[in-house]
Subunit: 245 residues, 2 copies
Amino acid sequence: MQPSARATDPVSTGPVLTPGGTTPTRPSEATRGIPDATIARLPVYLRALNQLAESEIDTVSSRALAEAAGVNSAQLRKDLSYLGSYGTRGVGYDVDYLRQQIGRQVGSARDWPVIIVGLGNLGTALANYSGFYSRGFRVVGLIDPAPELVDRNIHGLAISDLTELEDVVARTGAAIAVIATPADAAQAVADRLVGLGVTSILHFAPVVLLVPDGVNVRKVDLGQELQILAYHEQRALVDPHEVRR
Amino acid sequence: MQPSARATDPVSTGPVLTPGGTTPTRPSEATRGIPDATIARLPVYLRALNQLAESEIDTVSSRALAEAAGVNSAQLRKDLSYLGSYGTRGVGYDVDYLRQQIGRQVGSARDWPVIIVGLGNLGTALANYSGFYSRGFRVVGLIDPAPELVDRNIHGLAISDLTELEDVVARTGAAIAVIATPADAAQAVADRLVGLGVTSILHFAPVVLLVPDGVNVRKVDLGQELQILAYHEQRALVDPHEVRR
DNA sequence: TTATGTGAAAGCGTTCACAGCC
DNA sequence: GGCTGTGAACGCTTTCACATAA
């Protein structure tokens, strides 16, 4: 999975980050710590469950659901066990009920306002992407400094100038932002967003964003994805016996 | 990291897949198996090295390079050690030389032809994305079944109809394809691509693509990325003491 | 009998810490 | 002295395998 960006290897070989990245107040129970790897899969399960619900299937076994989600069934059961015991032994899981439970955990019980900074090709595509809406994300702000883009609008939402960033964040209350600017502008934008109270950032720039502790960062690097594929192609060329994965 | 899609949990609780996904011919040396996690970071190192080279810096320590790449220096050294011993103790790494070595492994010593199937908002953005070109990927084919898109062209490359897929793949020799179609078309497209000899697929559809062993799949699910961020926001709301990551 | 929930084992990946070399 | 290269320790993730419950 993708770790959030964080300053690493500080010059002073200071105290090691505690696993949770926090003061060791973790051993207490109240906070059921769900593993990161599990969290990353919950949306996948949710999607599979939604498809089942559409097909009017109301009970599903761990095996069937695991197959639909592309994971091992033991893994699925373990993942779900972190949320609680929502299945029935000998039977399986109630699709609707499980959907609700996962949805609650994942936060899709409510709508999330999101702003997008940078409306080049990629940013514009994201602004138009229906997959966000269907998962409860509402694009409520569009920001770009380019004069020729400002005031153009997408789905009825006008693009604001970068100088209005503060207003937009304050007005929309967005805690989640998407950065789709050129690489060299990304860090500055991130700094401003963090200063305005944004606590989650999804970015597409092939750079390491440095943000304070407490801010979530996820990075999607499209060039990197292709390079990983190219690596395997490369290997296959060099050594035809080598197996692709 | 993201595993490639693969049919899991087969109905027959058959023999477990060997770790490498192949016959146990692995213990031999010749094939230096580089961990997937490392492979995913090599492009990051490469990018950092390129920046250093631009700044005319020709030697770099593991600490400095690690910081630029956003990883721990021990990790960087271990990663590089899988490629060979390219550093000098007491000194560091020669930027240019290391760049060459990583580039060779990653396959960026050559250009990779890539085709894009599906030219909606996202596909079009990808076709225009300069980050592919700069990393050695050449978009050599564009495919979409929509009559209103066919023959339109992007950067001088005309969009071909889906019926011409076979021709395009044969003509361009692309082994890597990007699928940016609607979710319900993705599997069919993948099947055809695989049939035509494509062995690496990057896709953006929020579905599990089933492909034969030996085909690489990487998935980028933008909605899922936001949902992971939303989960952490959600947690922070529920329990303000909970630390974000 | 069927299928969940979960300890225990195995497998990976990261980090530590230091031997080895410049 | 400085910095790489790497065995060993650690912690996280996945998988196994079975007790448990319907």
